[in-house]
């Protein structure tokens, strides 16, 4: 981004009068705003998508009044939530109660900064991008537990504890299965990972060997679970816990939690597309690095994301909820060992691939 800014400064004389640092700062703030607005809008539309899909699956229509096909429904919802009374329970711990939504929101949104939306369309192209995402999403956990505790309500505390236990547990298979791709790719940089998947469809990491293939499903399952989406929605099981950790939140603060949840969905959908499904690669060789073509790549990635979002919604409205001990069983006794196997397998794949060379397995076996 700095290169682009430098060019901008060079081309526009009046900018040269402004100190460079200030330009950078303003540009960074603007970029942040842009991502924020963009993600918020997508998140809002995802809510709309969810409601529409749910409607279809239950043989009803869903919201279709506000805007074309109800596309502006989230605006109406937002306005309604903003207009509501902002209640802070009397026995709540006020400071923590107010801080919690901010932390959850920050945890969910900051991670978007390192996602590559297209070649070069990265707000912050870090060389350890994947690690950044994994660590930033763990911040959300703290916000959840703060919210649960500060509400001073047993539903909130129980929901928060369940949720935190679940999120922390599923972070392990999530991270480890992503590691399988990292080992195959040899980098943590998300742009590089996508670039390696360009070309034919079998270059996508999900199709590069059995371990990455399994890892993809582990990743998807673990992502669902750490997003508290059905069938892993025990922390918010409305029949048991009212609404989980945000039971006591209303109005704007509730909207923030709500938005953060859908932002998390988008985050993981994009991440899964980038890691396993080739990112902006359409599945056949085409150069998407040019200035205009980047936005085509963006569209392709966006389509993949939408598809994954649709799958998440589909799963939610199709499957019944897990029992709480089964959730932990699945995590620690199924997904975690399986993901470790994937990582070891991927490492072996890399090692063997390196030692086998061009001739492949048969040539290697015969000592060439």
């Amino acid at each position: 981004m700095q290169a682009w800014l430098d060019q901008l400064i060079r081309e526009h004389g009046w900018l040269q009068a402004v100190p460079a640092g200030l330009v950078y700062t303003i540009a960074i703030v603007l970029a942040c705003k842009l991502v924020l607005v963009f993600v918020s809008v997508i998140a809002g539309e995802t809510v709309w998508l969810e409601r529409r899909v749910a409607g279809r699956m239950q043989a009803r229509i869903g919201p279709n009044r506000v805007g074309p096909q109800g596309l502006l429904q989230f605006v109406a919802d937002g306005v309604k939530l903003l207009a509501k009374e902002d209640i802070i329970p009397a026995s709540a711990d006020k400071i923590v109660f107010l801080l919690a939504p901010i932390i959850v929101f920050a945890g969910a949104f900051v991670a978007f900064a390192v996602l590559p939306w297209g070649f070069g369309l990265v707000p912050a192209d870090m060389n350890i991008g994947l690690f950044v995402i994994l660590s930033l999403t763990s911040i959300e956990v703290v916000g959840v537990i703060m919210a649960g505790w500060a509400s001073n309500s047993k539903w909130a505390v129980l929901g928060a504890m369940r949720e935190v236990a679940q999120m922390i547990s599923y972070e392990l298979p999530l991270g480890i299965s992503a590691l399988a791709v990292v080992i195959l790719a040899g980098t943590l940089n998300l742009t590089d990972i996508v670039v390696q998947q360009e070309g034919a469809i079998w270059n996508w990491y999900v199709f590069r060997g059995p371990f990455a293939f399994i890892a993809f499903f582990i990743f998807a399952t673990a992502a669902l679970a750490s997003l508290k989406r059905a069938p892993f929605d025990l922390p918010e099981a409305e029949s048991e816990l009212v609404a989980g950790f945000h039971t006591e939140y209303t109005g704007f603060r509730f909207a923030v939690f709500f938005l953060a949840e859908y932002a998390g969905m988008i985050l993981f959908a994009v991440l899964a597309s980038v890691l396993f499904l080739g990112g902006w690669s359409p599945g056949f060789p085409v150069d998407l690095t040019g200035p205009g073509m980047r936005w085509v790549g963006f569209g392709i990635l966006f389509a993949k994301t939408l598809f994954l979002l649709f799958v998440m919604i589909w799963v939610r409205w199709s499957l019944p909820r897990f029992r709480v001990d089964r959730v932990m069983y699945l995590c620690y006794k199924v997904l975690l060992p399986a993901s470790v196997v994937c990582v070891v397998g991927a490492a072996l794949q890399v090692l063997l691939g390196a030692s086998m060379g061009d001739g492949g397995f048969a040539a290697w076996l015969m000592g060439r």
Binding site: P19, G21, D93, V96, I128, V141, I145, M146, W149
Partner: protein, 175 residues
Amino acid sequence: MKLPDLTPYIAPAVFYGLAAFAVISAIAAATAPKIVHAAFGLMAAFFGVAGLYFMLGADFVGLAQVIVYVGGILVLLVFGILMTGKTRSTLGLEEKPKLLIPAFVGGLFFFGLLLALHGTDFAARAVPPDPQPTTAPIGRAFLDPEQYLLPFELSSMLLLAALVGAAYLARRRRT
């Protein structure tokens, strides 16, 4: 009109901001009347320190700090607080620390450390080189038998032992 160039001031400003944030949070952790507040103060301090790591060019350590300390240890501590409290009133959540002697000792200690720092010449570089990516060198250092492979494996054994030990200790007793 040319505005003064503020670029050289950004880094110090960020440093002082982060340092103040970390230290104030730490002091809050030390003095907060509620233990949960202390824990959240600790979290803020963690973030401050993580920011300082980034300033030091140690991005990997900084992120590890966030994922392990904030995502792991801190949550564990808060869990500990919640599980060792029975009801709100007797939670032990409300505890006014007796600060007089500890503050005196702590202040004296800080003063002593400052004196020690002041009198020591560390032979440090005034301006370090540009930060390089650290993830790969750290990984190589960990897995190099000549460097830290043995401690690395030992620490994995330690973690395993701690995991098993903690699970064993914390299991529910049938009484």
